[in-house]
Symmetry: C2
Subunit: 443 residues, 2 copies
Amino acid sequence: MSQLPPIQVGLLGIGTVGSGVFRVLQRNQEEIRRRAGRGIAITMVADLDTERARGIVGDAAQVVADARAVIANPDIDIVVELIGGYGIARQLVLEAIAAGKHVVTANKALLAVHGTEIFAAAQAKGVMVAFEAAVAGGIPIIKALREGLTANRIQWVAGIINGTTNFILSEMRDKGLDFDVVLKEAQRLGYAEADPTFDIEGIDAAHKATLMSALAFGIPVQFDKAYVEGITKLQAADIRYAEQLGYRIKLLGITKRVAGGVELRVHPTLVPAKRLIANVEGAMNAVVVQGDAVGTTLYYGKGAGSEPTASAVIADLVDVTRLHTADPQHRVPHLAFQPHAMSDLAIVPMAQVVTGYYLRLRVADQAGVLAEVTGILARAGISIDAVLQREADEVGGEGSTQTDLIILTHDTAEGTMDAALAAMQALPTVLAPIVRIRKEELA
Amino acid sequence: MSQLPPIQVGLLGIGTVGSGVFRVLQRNQEEIRRRAGRGIAITMVADLDTERARGIVGDAAQVVADARAVIANPDIDIVVELIGGYGIARQLVLEAIAAGKHVVTANKALLAVHGTEIFAAAQAKGVMVAFEAAVAGGIPIIKALREGLTANRIQWVAGIINGTTNFILSEMRDKGLDFDVVLKEAQRLGYAEADPTFDIEGIDAAHKATLMSALAFGIPVQFDKAYVEGITKLQAADIRYAEQLGYRIKLLGITKRVAGGVELRVHPTLVPAKRLIANVEGAMNAVVVQGDAVGTTLYYGKGAGSEPTASAVIADLVDVTRLHTADPQHRVPHLAFQPHAMSDLAIVPMAQVVTGYYLRLRVADQAGVLAEVTGILARAGISIDAVLQREADEVGGEGSTQTDLIILTHDTAEGTMDAALAAMQALPTVLAPIVRIRKEELA
């Protein structure tokens, strides 16, 4: 078996992740060959910047500007797509599949949006599309969901799956700073991109949550149905109040099996401070999976970066190398469930989602306000878990006539809460837009 | 594909784990079939207590007293061994392999001691031996090491891999109680067995560490070379002092790649309180894996119990069902590395192991003692990280002439420390056996 020549890999795009893949494959080639049963060699690289690409790979691989030259090369067994985005990447992945190549990709956006088309094409052609690097970087969470937890009826998955936003939230809490200030610092340190929209608006996390949702529940990828709310409106005050109530605020990607279907949502979330996941700080990622047999499991590690992401890409290359000779009807299915056995469970609308809530109301410091507010909640059938009322002068300085009223509620449907919020907002004693952050006990 | 009849499984032993496997396979049969591509049915059960076995499986499976009747049944595709121990279990597993059955087992003791023989037999016969349930219960840590982290040169693995001892240590810390008291409580609550030797002496953890060592470094299982130290001598005072110095004490299974080979050891260990693994409480398990590309990853969940362990057994059944038609030369190797590519890295003797140390000396409360003790350490080239000296009356009551001297050292070879300990112990001012606990920063 070790006499087999190396399996030949073509790389589309050799930026941060691609150069990590090349470097780790070179550095650990002997160890990887001992695991995979044969060598894994990048023999061709396509990148528009051929000069930079040659600077990275030297003489080890042929460098071309045209990705299609890689796909057309009959010696290439596996194509690694690291271009990103939904555009040309989609086209190239479909062409690689059509050419009978196995595909490894880190492209969460592509799979969350076009996964159904891509997996169907791969299934029809009998090739594998592997994507461990698409969720939570080096953490083997795709493998856990697709293979490690197959005994379970999975109940929910909740994860810190975007390192940039977790870094920002950690800094906001540590230093008591507001979002804008920390974002600038994160950009300076390289933890946030020049255009951080995909990260801070929760879109990247929603791509990943969409993939985990499909893997956990055997449903098609449905990014367009995901509820997405980022961290740009979070204020330092809310992080501080949450802390006083025993909670941390994390941007979570959540997917949950409920009576009416599947929840799929990304938003800032209060999590009890004593939970392990609440203590995941900085740019680290962690995913909690709750299964009916296994109970709670958690997976933690670096969610991004050159070599952590390369670790996942190469694990996929080893999987393909070990298993590609198996007959295509007896492989691990792309989305954990056999393609003919997918479920049509619907993604439930947010109005039906049931969670707890953190509310912060800026109110007039006068008698009867608390009674008005809690009366509205009571009439809506929303029960209160905790109330924190600040002295007016703690909030607005001495002699202030305004104060913050913080309420934690028990679980209630979002539609019910929306109606109650509208009623509270209309009170003349409520002086500013109410802050509402969802809360999950993750128990 | 879904038209295939169920794959037929024979269960050897239907105790706590076996009944969990049966129950979860029944409850989630539809979900599991959708993942595996065909049904998985336990059609035969061997247990000496046939009456109890029939009470569990009803008419769903044939119950026999003789395990060999299961192995002899040509309709059985997979044999699940849940008898435990090294004796008859070894014989039956070898016979099942010889009969061409795939084997799934939760038996860490068997594989840690006889793994080389068993995996060689399976390799020769072209069948799979899967053992996810043998380490850390429902946490898919075997899969992570064998498949998820294959890109990496793994540097070390450290885990809380025995729930009984972690429960006892958590209780000792929480309540300030001594070992004996908490052990009795754990036995009353069912967290510790009537004969808890394997757990509290570290033997069970060493079985598991032995398996992780083989998977991480591509070496044969070598339980006989493992250093094993349990928690029976731990005192509440040391847990308290460690806490004051910013550490928790955990029973860790550790395996580490070092210049001279591989370390393989189980012992109580001080871990910085801020590490995620230091905050794993009660009967939960967690394993940290450090790889050169991925960095630090952590895996957390229930390490024992009927359904968590069943979760791992069934994940193995799904793996075998998905992949058993592949040609035997292209499967995932049992121990992560191809059998012809195993390493002969030696397990290094404890005298060469390098760690930090926590020392507690009961000393006479008189001038010059600290100088004597630190002088011995200095002459041995052992540098001190922290010293905690208690006032005599805090330790021994008012008017006491004895006190506790606690020292944390930087990394040093165990052989060097042993010599220094002997010299310190010989001082007339050192009044009791010195307590020595190893310390790992896990950074």
